[in-house]
């Protein structure tokens, strides 16, 4: 794995639970698919409502960003994802689908610089790079000091609906 470009900025990060950084948009599978845990019926009942809320929140990404930069992003799944520009921001809002790389937080820091064209990623490695689910569809725009990032994940809709009847196809229930 290439060396990470940032070493001194971690104190600024609210994403302290980062474990790895995806290096390529094409082919990387950032979806959260851990081994399914077996829970007893009591646990399932206790966590039914929180899990449904988390599944519902997983569907949407809607974040406001503040910080210097100019950039645009379009994601029509990871196969057709596009980005161009540079931004270094803090964000707040719905974080989007949970991934294996980063625990979702409604606030944090995001930094990205470079180009992504049809999933070919020529951005600098960053601890604060945004992470999208492979099946996500979304748009983002950052102009000078403010930006917005919105998306929806159809796979997460399926996971949410399946969760209502007690199924967990993504294996992300607590």
């Amino acid at each position: 794995m290439p060396a990470l470009s940032e070493t001194n900025d971690t104190a600024l990060s609210s994403n302290a639970e980062i474990t790895t950084v995806a290096t390529n948009t094409v082919g990387h599978d950032a979806s959260f698919t851990p081994e399914k845990k077996k829970h007893n019926i009591g646990h399932k009942m206790l966590f039914y409502i929180p899990n449904r809320v988390l599944d519902l929140v997983d569907i949407f990404r809607l974040r406001a960003k503040v910080g210097p930069g100019i950039s645009g992003t379009l994601q029509l799944t990871s196969v057709a994802s596009f980005y161009a520009g540079t931004h270094n921001t803090v964000y707040a809002g719905l974080p989007g689908p949970r991934s294996a790389q980063k625990k979702p937080r409604p606030w944090g820091r995001e930094k990205q610089k470079g180009i992504i064209l049809f999933g070919v990623d020529a951005t600098d490695d960053s601890l604060f790079a945004p992470e999208h689910s492979p099946s996500e569809i979304g748009l983002g725009l950052h102009i000078l000091i403010v930006g917005v990032d919105a998306g929806i994940d159809p796979v997460e809709i399926g996971d949410f609906l399946a969760g209502i009847i007690g199924r967990d196809p993504k294996g992300d229930d607590k």
């Binding site: 094409v26 082919g27 196969v79 070919v120 020529a122 490695d125």
Partner: protein, 349 residues
């Protein structure tokens, strides 16, 4: 009586199924296809940081074609039922255009128009089909600007008829809402001295607009020193269940090609996008005929193209003025700036 919209939706669904799910009854084939199109071994290792934007551009160019090629090979294998027999001899070609159009009369309002074209070679399924992905519309006439196209792109399969310049396309216009299409087209090129004559005819069915046809005739003459000067005409008529009678267009172009993208362009067609470095001027008139003939608009365009980055990014600048009947022939000025990127799988492109 069958509701027309239900019939069209049904045909759209059938075409969509035909396009994307041929032979998709075997789950393992679908899974291996999914794995193949997302495999990373086609990508070179990415540096942690890039020194400059040129390095990023080169990285994109080096890897974009590899990725797309691996995806098309996976598609080829998928369509060929997983029995690989032939390797691709001619690399597939991809072309991405990013155009900004500014309407000077509306306070320099900007419009962004991306376009995507591909020539995808599928040697294992070529006997049966070719894959087509293009931003162009099914009923497009010559001289259509990227900004005049509806949003979305067409994806489908194409079957050529052996030894005849006839093709049958079936696919879907990907947009909100998707629209299915079937197209039968004929296009040929005759060369006589320095003249090229290109007649074409297409008949189509779109689930949204119904049946239609486009007939076109283009002519080109190369002249002057090293035949770098070109003069040409393009005429077309279009009719569909959705048009107001018959729509027509006619254009006259004059150009100077200092450098072409492909050397043997003179034996093909001469379009501005085939030019690496050149300048041209085009006068086009558009109209429709529904009872009496009506001229709808005139458009005068000046086009300049030149290489912008190495031999795969080209800059296109096209100021133009248009006079429309609808606006009492008042002149409207626009400026189009485009970046045309070629991913052809060669060393330079």
């Amino acid at each position: 009586m069958i509701n027309k919209s239900i019939l069209r939706s049904t045909i759209s669904l059938m075409l969509f199924s035909l396009t994307v799910a041929h032979g998709a009854t075997e789950t393992n084939r679908l899974l291996s296809f999914k794995t193949a199109i997302s495999k990373t071994d086609a990508i070179k290792e990415k540096p942690a940081t890039f020194d400059n934007w040129s390095q990023r551009m080169d990285y994109i160019h080096d890897n974009f074609h590899n990725v797309m090629q691996s995806r098309t090979e996976a598609t080829d294998l998928f369509l060929a039922n997983g029995t690989e027999t032939k390797k691709q001899e001619v690399p597939s070609r991809f072309r991405l255009g990013l155009y900004l159009e500014s309407d000077v009369d509306e306070g320099f309002s900007l419009k962004f128009d991306p376009s995507f074209e591909s020539e995808i070679s599928l040697p294992n399924t070529e006997e049966r089909w070719k894959l087509i992905i293009t931003g162009k519309e099914i009923d497009e006439m010559p001289d259509t600007k990227p900004s005049e196209r509806e949003k979305g792109f067409s994806a489908g399969i194409q079957k050529g008829i052996k030894d005849l310049p006839i093709k049958l396309d079936a696919g879907v216009r990907i947009r909100w809402l998707p629209e299915g299409f079937l197209k039968l087209s004929w296009r040929t090129l005759w060369n006589a001295g320095n003249w090229s004559i290109i007649p074409s005819q297409k008949c189509y069915y779109e689930t949204d607009e119904g049946f239609g046809e486009v007939s076109a005739l283009s002519t080109y003459l190369c002249f002057g020193e090293k035949l770098r000067g070109t003069i040409g005409t393009a005429s077309a008529v279009r009719w569909s269940e959705d048009t107001d009678g018959v729509e027509w267009s006619h254009s006259l172009r004059l150009g100077h090609i200092s450098e072409s993208i492909e050397k043997d362009y003179r034996k093909k067609s001469i379009r501005m996008e085939d030019t690496a470095r050149g300048t041209g001027i085009k006068l086009a008139v558009y109209g429709h005929k529904n009872g009496t003939g009506i001229v709808d608009r005139y458009r005068l365009t000046f086009i300049h193209r030149r290489p912008l980055y190495k031999q795969w990014v080209y800059l296109e600048i096209a100021p133009e003025v248009e006079w429309q009947n609808e606006y009492d022939w008042d002149a409207e000025y626009t400026l189009r700036i485009g970046f045309d990127m070629l991913f052809w799988g060669t060393k330079t492109r």
